[in-house]
Symmetry: none
Subunit: 212 residues, 2 copies
């Protein structure tokens, strides 16, 4: 069954209920949203699902919980063939519900950052996931931060790290962005083709040569 994607430009209501007007699908009912924490998008490779939301919308049969969880398949609310498979389980040690395996890929592909919002929808037995970025100062990124695009990409972010004193020379559009959240680690964030490059925060101002 194909999903009809009528482009509704923007619904005025931004409540947790409806689609938020990014041109996505219809016959879903919202389950819940979460503003992701630094840990949710960091090296822990897991999303903590708030317990009350998990037990209300994504109950784990208990047998499944003891059996090491289950695998949930979420369709991408933006359409496309992409289906996101996450291991979903209960960690008795921390008494929390988590999505583990597969989650880090979603974070990477969607360029999720702390403060962004992930939304989970359901249409009958069909599950959907969507996300939206936080409101950011600065320009809209040159490349929309979506889909497993095969754009220019630093393979080794270590090598891509920019020393404060270096000049950064780039070709197309570049946007310097201040992350709103992620105050846990105070970092500067340079957004390049949808890739976040993290710079050590120094007293000195950042020196950049932007050749646009």
């Amino acid at each position: 069954m194909a999903l009809t994607l009528a482009l509704e430009s923007s619904s005025s209501s931004r409540g947790e209920g409806g689609g938020d007007g990014h041109g996505s699908c219809r016959p879903r009912e919202s389950m819940f949203e979460k503003v992701v924490t630094p840990s949710d998008v960091g090296k822990l490779n897991r999303l903590v699902v708030p317990k009350h939301l998990a037990e209300k919308h994504l109950p784990l049969p208990g047998a499944a919980a003891r059996a090491g969880g289950t695998v949930l398949c979420f369709h991408d609310a933006r359409g496309g063939e992409a289906a996101w498979r996450f291991r979903y389980s209960y960690w008795s040690s921390s008494q929390s519900y988590v999505m583990t395996k597969g989650w880090s890929r979603y974070v990477r592909d969607k360029r999720l950052a702390a403060g962004d919002t992930v939304s989970f929808y359901r249409d009958g037995a069909r599950l959907f996931i969507d996300c939206r970025r936080i409101r950011r100062a600065g320009v809209v990124p040159a490349v929309p931060p979506r889909q497993p695009q095969q754009a220019f990409f630093f393979h080794n972010q270590q090598q891509a790290a920019v020393q404060p004193q270096q000049h950064l020379v780039v070709a197309p559009r570049v946007v310097v962005v201040d992350d709103e959240v992620e105050e846990a680690r105070r970092r500067r964030c340079l957004r390049l083709f949808g890739v976040n490059l993290e710079l050590e925060l120094r007293a000195e101002p950042l020196l950049l040569d932007l050749q646009l």
Copy 2:
């Protein structure tokens, strides 16, 4: 069938074949060696056996792999009654061969540290294990780093870490050693009763009070 241990003091060829002249046994053929990583001797309690070596010298029948591995019994190449039993299994998740149960005991008893070498030999169906420390400048340790001795031992190496500015006061023989290997992480290594304590490398010289 007893194994005759003729003391050939040192085979001139140091190739991966022979004994290294520590007065150990003969009729073995070397299978492989590994320079152990920090993880191999750390809290993970497992030794990763490089895949190509594992499949060449210690194949797991596949049925055994699926059955959760097997137990291998290694005789101590230095002689003695000691036999080291390791669970040996294949982790399909990481596609790697590992020795798990029993390995941490070997690490402890032999005071194995990162950079040391473990060697596996075979004599027909009989398996042998040996290890040697990395070449170190400085004196031979006061206590030979052998056998299940129940000597003084820091349970938590974290706590045992020494800050460069501190004075270290110790009772018996102590040797300060510069690690030749492990240049990957440049660290000072202080050897104390066979335990390696790692110090952050600083410009300042190490300050020690040695009360012998």
